[in-house]
Symmetry: C2
């Protein structure tokens, strides 16, 4: 697969009480089009990722809504929903549409509006990603789910809360220079440990914040880019997706994310690369434990070693495999339906050499987007023009 | 495009107070697999259409849920949402996945659970398909939207309520022999005119009922079907999709469905067929006026002539172009997220020669699935092995 990323844009992530989903979506889409220097009339496919629009905005049908507000009615337009991996799926479907020739110019966008809903209704809304009959109905919501996962991992590998906290310290430091990040101030391990507990060992600063935001990328065929003289140094060269049981109770082990492992294996194979070829990654750190499982699932660290990645600086911007140079979900913020696209926005900038926390020589990049407690995962490999792989 | 329909199944449409979405989805999927004589372990892609699961079942993430309950975790699985065209989109994405080689065996399923929600909350939930800011917030819901469309059409072409009612009379007659249909009793024009008004000229019997139900089809590559000796007489040979403005106010005219016109044009071109090649169609008759606009958009009748199609028997099972031999949404029922797949189930049976209201020599068939008031539409062309077209 080789599908060019011709343009990429994220709105500021944070609180947008003055906006609705359609406004942020339109801002993100116009930003990506402007970045690509492509007119909206060129678009021949729209894929929108959104998780909870019916619950937060009383609005479904967001694929068409996006086409409408861009002035591009007539274009095939739909929405993908796979919980917090909704726009990872939108990227996958758009890339496949371009790869197969169904579209030459596919716009992928993601959005979520979370603040206006209020924390109680929002927690209920987010629980739609879990198993309603066997998890939510018993009172289990996501902080509790990830607390169970974290506890299992900590018990198995003798990991401490201090070690988990290093993920937040790294990601908050990375967020400082990212202009779109919700949090642009660093924190210490003590700050993380002393923050309000939510579901121990998960505290407020082990968790991503509540975020409004939208992101978009314009994917085009290499032929279209050539013919139109587009500057598109980064390409999607591999896509993998997989699923696992919706409820924790049906997993063989809590402390590994099988869907992510399989999605990564497929994406690497599709791209013709190996984990050791990867220069930079954006992973789904909805909680500190989630980044640890991610770097293991992606093959960067052995099981039980992921916990020491941030502690030892291996995932720092100057480490062996920089992870979440954007600040990740923990600092950049996590408008759930936008996150999968937002990761691609950040990685395209890394490959272009224009990231605020630039990794020198970044040529091969990986985006890892998770739905629910790991029940769905998409993994995408991006590469620079002329880099190895990209079969 | 040539993607074989190896298996097809719909649950009974109607009231299922004892079931939840996951149960009907699983029943439909197992039915399609059994019809195909294919084991679930063969599936390498799952595409689920659902519109309102978050509002009716407190459940999102239904792609993964389906994989989970089928025992096929590991398979890439997602949900498509495009309002009432959600599973038309799921068919489109699954067919593209098979066509492009991403999957050899793609399961498409659709579901909606509508009864348990209660009419008031359900009407609100359905309104998520319209423009929340410019339509719902003004109190406009779907019966009112289609009443405006009907009134505009009636005024323009001098059409009467009696003529609209003939659509219901035909479809209710067709539903009598369909074992899955919600309504299996015929009605007269007088019954339709005397039924309780909802939003005049739309009355209770001009409208599809509230329905629980699920449908599934198994799509496979011709190579897979050959290698595994599968019996798959019907294939998807063309797919078209398009969009129009979400709100009525932004349309140039209410009495035609531009998204459907464009989707049909693309699907015919993709399949290499013309409207006059079509032997049988399932169209989105959520209201009587909707079938009239559908048969015009699909090119079976000129504008203004669609109203006389049912009156003159042209869309009857023995007419020039039989439409909704299943009973359509009006008699079969309209579990919104299942409807697009359910249409393909019915048409596959027509092509196999095993439909309860069989159209003799049915070789080329069209499915037309609409989201909202026509803001999104998918059109699929199915053909028998060896029929013309199918480029």
């Amino acid at each position: 697969m080789r599908v060019n990323v011709a343009g990429a844009y994220s709105t500021k992530f944070g609180k947008h009480p003055e906006s609705s989903a359609r406004e942020l979506l339109t801002d993100a889409c116009l930003g990506a089009l402007e970045d690509a220097d492509v007119s909206p009339v060129e678009i021949d496919g729209i894929h929108v990722g959104n998780f909870m629009g019916e619950l937060t905005d009383d609005q479904g049908h967001m694929g068409v809504m996006t086409a409408d507000y861009l002035g591009t009615t007539g274009v095939p337009a739909t929405r993908s929903e796979s919980a917090c991996a909704s726009s990872g799926w939108a990227v996958r479907e758009a890339a496949q549409a371009v790869e197969s020739g169904t579209a030459d110019v596919a716009l992928v966008a993601g959005v979520e509006m979370m603040h206006a809903t209020g924390i109680e209704r929002l927690t209920d809304a987010l629980a739609n990603a879990a198993d309603n009959e066997y998890e939510n109905s018993c009172g289990l919501t996501f902080p509790g789910i990830f607390a169970l996962i974290a506890r299992d991992y900590m018990d198995e590998f003798g990991v401490t809360r201090e070690e988990l906290a290093e993920v937040t310290v790294k990601n908050r430091a990375n967020g400082v220079d990212n202009p779109i990040a919700q949090y642009q101030e660093g924190v210490t391990v003590d700050d993380v440990l002393e923050a309000r507990p939510i579901a121990p060992p998960v505290g407020m600063l082990d968790s991503c914040p509540i975020t409004d935001g939208a992101s978009a990328v314009l994917l085009v065929s290499p032929e279209y880019a050539d013919e139109n003289g587009l500057d598109a140094p980064a390409s999607v060269v591999g896509s993998g997706a997989s699923s696992a049981s919706l409820a924790l109770q049906d997993r063989d082990v809590l402390s590994r994310t099988r869907a992510a492992e399989r999605a990564a294996e497929r994406a690497y194979e599709h791209a013709g690369v190996a984990p050791e070829d990867v220069d930079v990654a954006e992973v789904h750190d909805c909680f500190t434990i989630a980044e640890i499982l991610a770097v293991e699932s992606l093959g960067f660290f052995e099981r039980g070693e992921g916990a020491y990645a941030a502690v030892e600086g291996e995932t720092a911007p100057d480490g062996r495999i920089p992870v979440n140079t954007s600040g990740g979900l923990i600092a950049k913020g996590h408008p759930v339906g936008a996150t999968g696209v937002a990761q691609v926005v950040e990685l395209a900038k890394q490959i272009e050499g224009e990231h605020p926390t630039q990794v020198e020589g970044a040529e091969t990049a990986v985006a890892h987007n998770v739905g629910g407690s790991g029940a769905s995962t998409t993994v995408h490999v991006l590469q620079a023009e002329g880099a190895g792989g990209g079969s």
